[in-house]
Symmetry: C2
Subunit: 197 residues, 2 copies
């Protein structure tokens, strides 16, 4: 039933429609009909492909996560120094493909839903761990491990915080200033370590 064959094009269309719909509404409180309608099919077909609404939502989150991961790998492959790796993590999180209103709104909605849904929580935890280890991979070359842990935690919190703020269209309007803000924090930390006094 979950259609493992090669052209899961309807699945993909439904996932894209889900992202769009969730992003527009800013909440997972969307109906199967809305999603299906946007994908140009009936709600019955959405159920045919995904079974329950829950599974469509999970597939959608997985898709967003895997896109982010792919971007991250690419950026990492092009980074030679530890310093560049850290900047790559930041850059990808605020890249044009990731830091878009629909994606941000979807992220936020999924974060909330994760409090209810163990499977979504598991998904997000995997992402969090990956982010952490990516950050550490750069930071450990630049400062003591304990300090690196703290900085990684701070950067992760900053990213989450900037996402939220962006979702509310409050502060930090554009991606560029978000990057500047995080990089500035990083740079300050490095200075502090080069001349420790």
């Amino acid at each position: 039933m979950p259609k493992l064959g090669m052209p899961p094009l309807r699945r993909r269309a439904l996932i894209d429609a889900a992202i769009l719909t969730i992003g527009e509404r800013g909440s997972l409180d969307v109906t199967m009909s809305e999603i299906a309608g946007r994908a140009g099919v009936s709600s019955a077909l959405a159920h045919h492909y995904f079974g329950a609404k829950d599974e469509l939502l999970q597939a959608t989150m997985r898709h967003i996560l895997s896109e982010l991961n792919a971007d991250m790998r690419k950026a990492f492959a092009a980074s030679r120094t530890p310093r560049a790796r850290v900047s790559a993590v930041i850059a990808v999180n605020f890249s044009e493909t990731q830091f878009r209103p629909e994606i941000i709104a979807a992220w936020l909605a999924f974060y909330v839903e994760a409090q209810k849904s163990p499977s979504l929580r598991r998904l997000l935890r995997v992402y969090a761990r990956r982010l952490h280890s990516n950050l550490m991979s750069g930071l450990t070359g630049l400062m003591p491990r304990l300090e690196a842990e703290r900085v990684a935690e701070a950067i992760a919190a900053l990213i989450d915080g900037l996402y939220i703020r962006r979702a509310l269209k409050d502060g930090t309007p554009n991606a560029a200033s978000a990057v500047v803000l995080v990089e500035d924090y990083l740079e300050t930390k490095f200075l502090q370590h080069k001349k420790p006094a």
Copy 2:
């Protein structure tokens, strides 16, 4: 109908029940019956006092906001130096009364809902502005205004990010380490300004 008299004790009980229910579920997706039931009354009574569910939710957010504000005023009144004022803002946001699971979960849920509801968005914007001006009131005494703006933005993002992470029970388990993290950022910034280079 909204009962303006002195003992709106039912209203208060319902708001408390709403916080608890929302906090437990981690989402605004709670029924009037659940909330009313926890407050020990019928759902019809909840409607009698608040009209629509929306209004109960708004009153709940307003209540959380005003408690935070009261705490903030108190802490501010006791702070004499600019430096102390900044620390007060941080301390209050991570105080025992604010950094509790129910409150955090409720915050997050309201953030998401704010994307749909203009009135909630307005409420949160007021809070954001107040936080910003509170932070600036301390920071402007310690660094150039432009830099202060950026630091205030970063602190606000850090706070939001740490709240989210706490909601997911991921990183940053306790309030103490959250304060340490933000204070560490601050301290680094100050050092940078005392010996600029």
